[in-house]
Subunit: 322 residues, 2 copies
Amino acid sequence: MTDTLHGAAEFDLIARIRARVANRDDVVLGIGDDAALLQVPVGQHLVVAMDTLNAGVHFPEDTAPADIGWKALAVNLSDLAAMGAEPAWCTLSLSMPQSDAGWVDGFLDGFLELAAQRRVSLVGGDTTRGPLSISVTVHGLVAPGRALRRDGARVGDDVWVSGTLGDAGAALQQWRDGAPRDAFLRQRLDRPTPRIALGLALADVANACIDISDGLLADVAHVCRASGVGVSLRVGDLPASPALRATFDEDARRALQAGGGDDYELCFTAPGELRDEVQRLAAQADTAVTRIGTVIEGQGVQAVDADGAVWNASRAGYEHFG
Amino acid sequence: MTDTLHGAAEFDLIARIRARVANRDDVVLGIGDDAALLQVPVGQHLVVAMDTLNAGVHFPEDTAPADIGWKALAVNLSDLAAMGAEPAWCTLSLSMPQSDAGWVDGFLDGFLELAAQRRVSLVGGDTTRGPLSISVTVHGLVAPGRALRRDGARVGDDVWVSGTLGDAGAALQQWRDGAPRDAFLRQRLDRPTPRIALGLALADVANACIDISDGLLADVAHVCRASGVGVSLRVGDLPASPALRATFDEDARRALQAGGGDDYELCFTAPGELRDEVQRLAAQADTAVTRIGTVIEGQGVQAVDADGAVWNASRAGYEHFG
């Protein structure tokens, strides 16, 4: 781990991070050298994802440091969940305008809380001077042939989604409007839950999987392109939280559910004959899942109302914060 | 690989990157899913390093995109070289103010030129909106027990350095002063050479190794701390390029050699009885190496003149660009 912030406080920063990190047994060498040394178990594929959060783009500037820390790791773990991988290690590159130990302490509170929950070791990275930006690379493990991919959806598959949709987008909307911010919705925006247990449970049943970061319609479209299929979604079946129902009318709610980003739920497809098995595995993983559509021939995503009419999704494109 | 830049050009950007990438045989799944799937050979440790370059901090804003691309990968490969690891894969997170296909093409020219030279596959990452910033994570391989670390230096070891010192710092100085920029020095700043072959060759002889990113004195101090030893450096023996000799007087030159960052040479220690073997292995790796000091008892780095007097290193602290 290298540190190129200015001043005497710099080296304290690395020491500060290192002192709080717990290493797994498979970390041969963690923070403190030019690179980390890690032991990948025989018979496992390495799974690698990397995502960056920039201040003012991926989170409002007034987000608490601990929430930024949580989210920076969560969005990466969500990618591993979508592959059906077990998380193992991560590296962190933190750019900040000046060395600010208090901010870093808060950031680590959130980052390391999630890391400890999911048994992920922080093994390296760097700290640099620059506009506030957090890059994380996560490493996970999956048995060969058991990874969930985007390209396996088959015509006739059910389309499923975990949890509820639109909550994070709703929180962002309230923030934009200067409206009172619902605590549940805000938690969903600031502290997304990576659906790791569900991803692991789906290996035997799902044909394709993706996590919802850009918005349901946009992400399902990725699956369609990769799998060479179309998807018909039933807008009326999209799961909504009580908080979302209480704060937005039906039109606004549907737009948020179909188009809002940052939910980090898993969307997956599975054969219709495995419906009961999907429900059983999801219950074991302690994660609610809802059937929201069907894989069809053709290409692209079609959203239909309860009466079968095509739903106007014009309001449902993903918008970034800021 | 996910892309969260705005507009229709976004998806072209990922497609643009993907179209130019060559995958190694051990890449099971590269760019285009939630994460990459990689095959780590049995009996090898995974080596992971992550470094970020920010515009205006790590490179002047007027640096050519191809040079930024080269350097973003090179500084990471240098970390693998310092561990004695063989590079394998990398991920890239690119933040830019707006989607600019021409800039990305130039960036990829440099990035992928170096990746092809060193047989590194770009397997994932993301593109996001934000101030210009490039994070790279590199993955390498090393046999257990053969990694070069910072903590193995022993009293009596020779201290060696590869290549020449101070060239990159000199180029930065010329840029800062608005002086005519020497082409060789500028190349050393913009296109550092990761000393991979040398790192691989040193496994059997070196006791400790680090790459020089922050400046010789600062980086040798890291080795001293990690190994619990001191180092005495002979300032007069530090290797200088003809270009550096031609453009800076002795005082300025020594300050740049001892304190200038961004050289990305390897500094390593090895037992005195292996001097000839070190020279032989370095010649095989086609890399010049120079003995510049000795590991001593105590702590910290002492720099001495040819007459044994302590050299005043006050001018030699590392300064970032900007």
